[in-house]
């Protein structure tokens, strides 16, 4: 059973960043409305409560496909709101499966999973899409649609929620701008480099303003400079309060960002740097 983590654990941002994050998490939590609190100390208390909120929690989670061996065995951890967490481990260790469980893309075989306050394992299948809207996902394969332009790829999550067209276009353009793809609205993904495609996938993942962003090997097959730029994009989102869970086996990357790291090997947690699990 994992210990409750402080959301600030493993983070190296300044106090200023903490305050920005706190404000944004608070805003996200109350649907972007300003705090209706007259007394500042009450607001601070509420922020503290929100910051200590558990965003993701795994309790004795097992995952297997059919009668095959367990991909994940007895996984326990907690991730607080606004944390930046790496999931590391060799290929085939179960990193992608773990992320899919967090994203509600697959149910666990056993155990309890809470994401954003909802129990995924108890959730009926038809309710899971609504949870997925609160979790931005970029998989190892970017899953971009090559029969449409970059902005049309980003618009898809907004079409899914039936957002008004003009608002949707404004938000999609803003998302492209945030990942550094401003002006590339009409580009087809095939015309983009690997790094740009990855950033496009991130834009699509964040356009719905998710509380959690999960990314599976977002920098694999990218050169160091492009990988660094992608990670900067992620860090910018984390700074505004988005909880980040990134699967990677790039040790230098993890060392550079010095975030909390969950290490999986052979379906089990073997090490969590800096934190006892």
């Amino acid at each position: 059973m994992g210990a409750i983590m402080s959301p600030m654990a493993g983070c190296c941002e300044t106090r200023g960043h903490d305050i920005i994050r706190a404000r944004l998490v608070f805003k996200a939590a109350v649907l972007n409305t300003p705090p209706p609190l007259a007394r500042p100390h009450m607001a601070v208390l509420l922020w503290a409560l929100i910051l200590s909120a558990i965003m993701i929690e795994f309790q004795h989670v097992f995952k297997s496909y059919g009668r095959a061996r367990n991909i994940l065995s007895d996984i326990n951890f907690r991730i607080g709101a606004g944390e930046f967490v790496f999931v590391s481990g060799p290929s085939g260790a179960g990193k992608s499966t773990l992320l899919k469980l967090v994203g509600g893309l697959e149910p666990p075989s056993r155990g309890a999973i809470s994401v954003n306050g909802h129990r995924i394992d108890e959730m009926p299948t038809r309710a899971r899409p609504y949870l997925r809207r609160a979790v931005g996902v970029t998989l190892h394969d970017t899953h971009l649609l090559y029969d449409r332009s970059a902005i049309e790829n980003v618009l898809l999550p907004l079409k899914v929620i039936g957002l008004e067209q003009s608002v949707a276009w404004t938000r999609a353009r803003a998302a492209l701008d945030k990942v550094g793809l401003a002006g590339k609205d009409d580009f087809n993904p095939v015309e983009m480099s690997g790094g740009e495609q990855q950033r496009l996938a991130i834009a699509r993942a964040i356009v719905n303003r998710p509380a959690i962003l999960i990314a599976d090997e977002p920098t694999a097959n990218l050169d160091h400079e492009t990988a660094r730029r992608i990670m900067e994009v992620f860090r910018d989102f984390n700074r505004v309060g988005v909880t980040l869970l990134i699967a990677s086996h790039d040790k230098s990357l993890m060392a550079h960002y010095a975030a909390r790291t969950l290490h999986i090997d052979n379906g089990r947690f073997t090490d969590v740097q800096g934190v006892a699990v």
């Binding site: 299948t125 997925r132 809207r133 999550p157 899914v160 039936g162 957002l163």
Partner: protein, 302 residues
């Protein structure tokens, strides 16, 4: 409500885009369904045009009783009286035609005159011509009376003219059953074609479906464009089938007109009324949408 409408509009746009993205494939599907649908539509046209002919055909309310050649005039008169007495309510007139009178009538016909002159005697029997009152089921009633009178002594043959009308009615009934079976076959063809089209589309759009689910699309959102695709294909096919049937009726009517004129009558095949055709198109669309839903549910399991 607005959000719901926007999602449906999006699904319709996606369905139209998918139909247009593979124009030849879509056209081939529409043609297959339209050609299959046009057959029962034409069958219905024929049936609809033939039914009034059968219905309005005047069933001759006359029954002719031919007596045994051995029966004498007295017996014939007694039989006529018996009919008048027993069926006073059902018959409007009973007329005895003597054998001599019948022979004279025949002899007056130029084609028969010489042949009959060669006969040694009069081979014709006495006969009684009975005119029936109007009856809701005249043909059936005439049959009943005929079979009853056939049993009487000295009656050789009872003849009435409703037999061929009944035959026509039987043929129409046969066509009606055939048409119902054909319609059932057409329903199967529509279901199978749409099922397969949607299956192929679902396979082609596998990536888009996966991405939509990834970003939080509900199963309804994923399936809706396919439902529209099926319904649109059904609707376009039904309209095309009506067009094809109309095209085919033009040369058929020209040929039928030539045939009917030799009988000194006029006969035209017309399409079923617009309301029936609209209903057919709607039913085909709904069936196609159901088939699409079944197919997409089977072929895009999460």
């Amino acid at each position: 409500m607005k959000r719901w409408l926007r999602q449906h509009r999006y699904a319709l746009q996606v369905a139209v885009r998918r139909l247009l993205s593979q124009p030849f494939s879509s056209l081939a599907n529409v043609l297959v369904i339209a050609l299959t649908l046009s057959v029962p539509i034409m069958g219905a046209s024929i049936l609809q045009s033939a039914e009034p002919v059968a219905r309005e055909m005047p069933v001759s309310p006359e029954i002719t009783l031919f007596m045994n050649p051995e029966a004498d005039r007295q017996t014939t008169q007694e039989t006529a009286e018996k009919i008048r007495g027993e069926h006073a309510d059902e018959v409007s007139s009973v007329r005895v035609v003597a054998r001599e009178q019948a022979l004279d009538t025949l002899k007056s016909h130029p084609n028969w005159g010489d042949a009959l002159a060669a006969l040694p005697g009069n081979p014709l029997p006495d006969s009684i011509v009975i005119t029936l009152n109007e009856h809701t089921n005249l043909a059936g009633h005439a049959d009943e009376l005929a079979s009853q009178w056939q049993q009487w002594p000295n009656v050789d043959l009872v003849q009435h003219d409703s037999a061929w009308v009944q035959r026509l009615e039987a043929i129409l009934q046969f066509i009606r059953i055939g048409l119902a079976l054909l319609a059932a076959g057409v329903v199967l063809v529509v279901l199978a074609t749409i099922f397969n089209t949607v299956r192929l589309q679902a396979l082609t759009q596998r990536e888009e479906i996966a991405v939509a689910r990834l970003v939080g699309a509900t199963e309804s959102f994923v399936r809706r464009p396919f439902l529209y695709l099926g319904a649109l294909t059904g609707l376009i096919s039904a309209l095309a089938a009506v067009g094809l049937a109309r095209l085919a009726l033009t040369p058929l009517n020209a040929a039928l007109d030539r045939l009917a004129s030799t009988y000194g009558t006029q006969l035209q095949l017309v399409l079923p009324d617009p309301a029936s055709l609209a209903l057919t198109a709607i039913v085909v669309s709904i069936l196609a949408a159901f088939s699409a839903r079944w197919s997409v549910t089977r072929n895009t399991r999460f």
